[in-house]
Amino acid sequence: MLTVNIAIIIPFLAAIFIPFINKKYPNIHIGWFALFVPATLFVTLARYIPTIAGGKTYVYTINWIPSYGINFTTYLDGLSMIFALLITGIGSLVVIYSIYYLSSKESLSHFYVYLLLFMGAMLGVVFSDNIMVLYVFWELTSISSFLLIAFWYHRKKSRQGAKKSLLITISGGFGMLIGFIMLSGIADTLSIREIVLTIGDNTDHPLFLPAMLLILLGAFTKSAQFPFHIWLPDAMEAPTPVSAYLHSATMVKAGIYLVARFTPVFGGEQTWFWLVSGVGLLTLFWGSFNAIRQTDLKALLAYSTVSQLGMIMSMFGMGSAALHFGYSTESVVYTQATFAALFHLINHSTFKGALFMVVGIVDHEVGTRDLRRLGGLITIMPATFTIALIGSFSMAGLPPFNGFLSKEMFFTAALNISQLDIFALDTWGTLLPVIAWIGSVFTFVYSMIIVFQTFFGPYQKEKLDLPAHGASRGMLVSPIILAVFVVGIFFFPNLVGKYLINPAMTTIFPRLAVEGDLGQTITIWHGFQPELYMTIGVIAVGTFLYIFRNYWKGIYSLFPEKWTFNELYYFSLTQLEDGSAAVTKSYMTGFLRDYLLYIYLFFIVAIGGILFYTGAFSFDLTGDEPVTMFEWSIIIVMIIAGITILFAKSRLTAVLLNGVLGYSIAVLFVIFRAPDLALTQIIVETVTTVLFLVCYYYMPEWKKENKPTRTKRINLIISIAVGIVFVLVALSVQSGKLFESISGYFENAYELAGGKNIVNAILGDFRAFDTMLEVVVLLIAGIGVYTLIKLKAGKEDENIEDQ
């Protein structure tokens, strides 16, 4: 369906127009235009919910680089539908919220351009069927996230956080790319659907395991799983709407999406099961444990997001065990974990989105997010308090909020899986529900901290930057809508289950779904079961720990500051920077002469060496044309000019003599009937001469250098060697026929491209991709020269980087 492809492109197109619209209508908040995009997309996509729930999927392909199998293929099914609705739905709410959150003094058009860029990229990730296209969009989300975190780029912390998130997610993404390439090698296709169909025969391929590990690396870095979670708290330097959108509801779930999407490929394997659920549970525990000690509300929420992501991740891992068996009533029970994962994914987006917005409101109205300074806001911000209460209690897993349902299902799934006797679960299985329970206790504690430390207790007016007052109505709209969902999903969970989650289950378990129904009914009350006792235990122990939190907080000092992953990250970063600086300084001497030496040596060794090694230096002079008088005379002119440069007294003479060489080559091209080359050579020569003259002013004095004879001799040998290699290459070019000539193809230029000029047909048509990229490189080089010259800091300017 073309609609889906267009849905991906529209945000990008809108991003192009945002700056122009902003300039044209400076009085209207540009956010309203931006809002139009996600809102329309949400409605458009929502119209397909019934058909998707009916089991239909839509595929549409736009050819991109068909010769490499890279095509812009979109695939709309249950799984991508959930994510797309989250992206556009939460996206709309975040845009509304941001309109009231950001003051009009900020560079709003930048903000919305980045936001739309992200939206398009994220839609691309969830809709792409082609793994290469998916990778492109995947990295685009990292880049737009980088831009958004560094939105207040004048702050040092923002820049650091942005860099950290970019480095971690991009290196994970790079691993994922390698994994994708391996996977495409195994399955001989780039389409995820086809990989899923054929992978069953290839699970013992030697690259299967490395591909799985590398793809998981991509997923874990993106979804901030332990130990890569360290970037997420630092990403909180972004404006709060961004944190609510990218760093809790959508982008960090891209890794979870990837795991879900590749469950039919890798699921059922022991490594996959233990890695995904193990790392997930560890993240759940570590994130929730660390959230409690945070004093910044946003950092607390960041760690809580880390832990919730771990929880969702672990459920996907547990659910994958169902693929180990065929279809049976038993395996359906194990798929319940995946069902719960998808359910919690939706729930988490609703309550965490609302909580982030609440924190944003508090920050915006009071001027601080520090828990030690906050308190007693309940009377001042009753509406905000209500939303915070709904969000936190849902996160803690209390009824009547949607978090209760998915938390119960999480316990059920963990209990069921621990009963299995595959994958060494009979020895280690008991750990799963235990860690899940401990993590939930900590979750309960920090959820209480959010509500009670912020809104109850004494109101410390003197500690606040701004006099507290109620939130503006506009800012409350989005969190209220999310809070309504939090409560609504609790009472009508099966609407979500039937229309959104069941179709996605079919995607994740295609082989099981063929044989029977995977649907689950979510029940609010299922009797006095172990999971209920677990919840009651969470509440009891959690309340106890919350009340006496000051007595056991000493635990945190057991973890020395020096041995954190953060320290490791900064240590390796500085080591890398220092190391590369040392290496670079060792050969970047600042002398053009040295650089030329490197280039020539490389030329001699790489080109000459390889040709010599492969025995390609073979030539036959008998078939060559005789050299005519014209050619002789031009060549003699060139030789004289070339030798004279060496003895030139002034730089101007040398420049002009160099010009003589260039123009003589152009004349040679004319004689050899290559008018294109001659034309280009003449003009390039003219422009370079002008450039030379322009730069003349800056050149150091032209003087003879006094180097030791030894150096001079070496230089002489190198220059002669370069000349010899060059001549040999020129002579042997004709002799080595490694493969059939493809020139016959280009000779049909008139029929294929409608042009008689073969050279230009190649440049503009047959190999237009090269030309396009060259043009872009040229532009980048031009901008580079411009910025280097124009934007350099003056001697008196302060260094703005160090603020």
Partner: protein, 140 residues
């Protein structure tokens, strides 16, 4: 740069038009004979550079009020944009097309989408060359 070379200025005033005409000719003829976007753009750039050398930069910029950085950006946008254009017709990225049309004055003429692509190339070349030369020469 203030120079007052009357002969050079007088010759330039005429020569620039010849160079510009040549540039346009080279650009358009590139499909079937030597020329094309790159060469056309370079010749165009030399015309501007000649103007900048003979007259001073301020005078020329008053007469030709282009921001050459934007010209270059527009060119890159055109070149990359034509690639996406073919996607709209269900063809692979950067597919070019051509056709023969009967135009009123020119008679049977070939029109090719590659011309738009080449125009992008030409604009980038002009923009970048002039930007580089201007920024170096202004940096005193």
């Amino acid at each position: 740069m203030k120079i007052n070379n009357v002969i050079l200025q007088a010759v330039t005033k005429i020569a620039v038009f010849i160079i510009l005409t040549l540039a346009v000719y080279l650009f358009l003829s590139g499909h079937n004979s030597p020329g094309g976007g790159f060469i056309g753009g370079l010749v165009l750039a030399t015309a501007f550079v000649l103007l900048f050398i003979v007259f001073d930069i301020e005078t020329v910029q008053k007469a030709i009020p282009f921001d050459f950085k934007r010209v270059a950006a527009l060119g890159a946008f055109l070149a990359v944009g034509t690639g996406f254009g073919s996607l709209l017709f269900g063809e692979p990225f950067l597919s070019q097309s051509f056709g023969y049309f009967d135009l009123p004055i020119f008679g049977k003429t070939e029109l090719a989408t590659v011309t738009i692509f080449e125009a992008g190339v030409a604009l980038v070349v002009v923009g970048v060359v002039v930007t580089i030369i201007l920024s170096i020469s202004e940096d005193v």
